[in-house]
């Protein structure tokens, strides 16, 4: 079976098209003037990444992506926006002064990631049918809890520390008030 860039399969075409959707919606997130619309474009971005996972047959990962990122994190964004302020219509003071440095850093990070991934998987061909069992819950669980269990646990401790830190920061003001009173 021959592989070539000039004779793409339907899967590859779909993958590239959805990648373009992801890129476009990601750009819209940072350019749109309306805060809630930006959050919605982020939703589109996250959703299309989930579709990419599905195309790569990582079924479990795709639905986890929808559940966590699309379903919980952006809802929390919207919740925070609505609790503080979410005006209907554009917000003018959204411009960032450090726009150009940010752009350079962003492009640099993207360039590094693309280079690393291209270098790493340059000679690996992906066979969608053969990869289906790799994306199942069982395979992912085995990988995660057999070979990657230490990074996994370290990450969860990090998240826990961040959670505790957030609670401590938000409660500190109140406790000193009570101590004074």
């Amino acid at each position: 079976m021959s592989h070539g860039y000039l004779s793409p399969t339907g899967l590859e075409i779909a993958f590239v098209l959805i990648g373009l959707v992801t890129l476009g919606s990601g750009l819209l997130v940072v350019t749109v003037k309306n805060l809630v619309h930006a959050a919605l474009w982020l939703l589109v971005c996250m959703g299309s990444i989930a579709v990419e996972y599905l195309l790569l047959t990582a079924e479990l990962l795709a639905w986890i992506q929808v559940l966590i990122y699309a379903g919980a994190i952006i809802v929390l964004f919207l919740f925070g926006l609505m609790l503080t302020r979410a005006p209907i219509g554009p917000t003018e003071e959204l411009n960032v002064r450090h726009r150009w440095p940010a752009l350079i850093v962003g492009l640099g990070a993207a360039g590094t990631l693309v280079t690393v991934i291209v270098q790493a998987y340059q000679h690996t061909w992906f066979d969608p049918r053969g990869a289906v069992p790799l994306g199942s819950g069982e395979a992912l669980g085995t990988q995660l809890f057999k070979y990657w269990v230490l990074p996994f646990e370290v990450l969860s401790v990090l998240l826990l520390a961040a959670l505790v830190g957030a609670i401590v920061l938000s409660r500190r003001g109140r406790d000193t008030e009570e101590a004074e009173a």
Binding site: N34, V36, H37, L40, L43, E59, L60, W63, I64, V66, L67, A70, G71, A72, V75, L76, L78, F79, M82, L83, A86, I88, G89, S136, G137, A181
Partner: protein
């Protein structure tokens, strides 16, 4: 050439594969069934609530008023579609769609029955059998939240916004408890596929070994569907209509549809996870034919109607919770309880898996866990009461300060008197246009001033 894989009409091979046709048939049947169930459930709810409140309820359109919801749907479709001037138009259009579509999608993985024969082809009564079906339902229903949140925001009005905020907080909180209650089922069944879970309940329904998970799921599902007593996002007495205040016509109908389909979806999920899915209940299951062919669909529908009835019963019986009580229930009761319970389930499963488990072990483990649980509950309750009494002391001090504040300018703002508080009488200012005041309500200004004071 006759081909069993393709659809052949009078010897003409259409090249449409049967699996595709069967999927289309099942999909359309499912859609139709959900819509009809919605119409039925609206009527059922109104009749049952009427019966509980000793009224009659809708009984004019069709036999027993069965066509009432159809008539209401037609009426809604014919109403003017109003878009508020302040609304964010594209999102205002998107919200009802986002709310209705996931409601339909989630139902695709619910198994309605075992393998049956349709046009001579064997197929299970389930649209798709994903290996991670339950996770798919959770993911899709979490997308359904956007419908409500965005409806609240895009209306450009205060009450819907408050409803949207409430619903997002509510659904996120209760989704955690819901997911944790599922984890116990995954541990027992060893699979996340809905059909696999039903198959694993051949001997016992999971509501028996996993009763606490089941109860937590049933509470969480009421919170997740925004139904009474947890219907805070659309509390009529507080928020007019909540998130759908500004919606009219078919867009409003879509929200209604989504709510009732969600009701059916979460009930079917409860049946699938804890009540044996399409399996026949105990005395019937002794008959070997009960779990074959099309009969299981009957058991499923009966269980579904029982669940819908319980939903209506709750609505007819319980008053709406206050928002802080609701959040306290979610975060301080449901989530800790399900975490501890999950730990216990995991320990028992592990002991069973290594084959080190019999009744003699099970009882001390359960007793120890129960004792620990009661201890934790008591400790939390004591802490809570200390906190409450501390709060009351500080509140009493604040109240005393307010009561001594006779001017009524507590903290710089004029505030109304507290109950039982005496205020110095304020002499009313004479009206600037006495003649107008007399013509307006037929009293002299002096009369009115004295009326106002007594």
């Amino acid at each position: 050439m006759a081909n069993m894989d393709h659809w052949v009409i009078n010897g003409f091979d259409t090249h449409i594969p049967w699996w595709f046709l069967l999927t289309v048939i099942k999909g359309v049947a499912l859609f139709a069934m959900l819509v009809v169930l919605t119409l039925f459930n609206i009527w059922f709810e109104r009749r049952v609530v009427s019966w509980m409140q000793m009224r009659i309820g809708p009984n004019r359109v069709g036999p027993q008023g069965l066509l009432q919801s159809l008539a209401d749907g037609v009426k809604l479709a014919l109403k003017e579609d109003i878009v508020p001037e302040n609304a964010d138009k594209p999102v205002f259009w998107l919200a009802p769609v986002l709310s209705a579509i996931p409601a339909f999608l989630a139902f695709a993985v619910i198994p309605w029955g075992p393998e049956v024969s349709i046009f001579g082809h064997r197929t299970t009564l389930q649209l798709v059998d994903l290996p991670i079906g339950v996770l798919y339902i959770l993911a899709v229903s979490s997308v359904g939240i956007y419908g409500i949140v965005l409806a609240g925001w895009s209306s450009g009005s205060t009450y819907p916004l408050l409803g949207g905020i409430r619903s997002s907080a509510q659904m996120i909180s209760y989704e955690i408890a819901m997911g944790l209650s599922f984890a116990g089922v995954f541990l027992y069944a060893g699979t996340m596929s809905t059909s696999g879970i039903v198959a694993a309940q051949e001997q016992t329904w999971y509501i028996l070994p996993l009763c606490i998970s089941g109860i937590i799921y049933i509470i969480a599902m009421v919170g997740e569907t925004n139904r009474a007593p947890f219907d805070l996002p659309e509390a009529e007495g507080e928020l007019v209509g909540g998130f759908h205040t500004e919606y009219t016509s078919l867009k409003f109908a879509l929200f209604f549809l989504a709510e009732y389909i969600n009701l059916v979806t979460v009930s079917s999920l409860a049946i699938t996870m804890f009540f044996g899915g399409w399996r026949a209940p105990w005395p019937l299951s002794l008959w070997s034919g009960a779990n074959q062919g099309w009969y299981p669909m009957i058991w499923f529908l009966v269980k579904l109607l029982i669940f819908v009835f319980v939903f209506i019963w709750l609505r007819g019986t319980l008053p709406r919770l206050r928002y802080d009580q609701f959040m306290k229930l979610g975060w301080k009761v449901l989530i800790p309880v399900s975490l501890v319970w999950l730990l216990l389930v995991a320990v028992i499963r592990q002991l069973k898996n290594v084959g080190d488990m019999d009744q003699a072990h099970l009882i001390p483990i359960c007793l120890g866990a129960a004792a620990l649980f009661v201890l934790v509950l008591v400790a939390l309750e004591v802490r809570e009461r200390n906190q409450v009494s501390r709060d009351r002391r500080s509140r009493d001090a604040a109240e005393l300060a307010r009561e001594e504040d006779l001017e009524g300018l507590g903290g710089g703002f004029p505030v109304p008197p507290m109950p039982g508080q005496q205020r110095a009488a304020i002499t009313p200012r004479p009206l600037r246009t006495p003649i107008l005041a007399v013509t307006a309500n037929g009293h002299t200004p002096a009369e009115e001033a004295s009326d106002g004071r007594q």
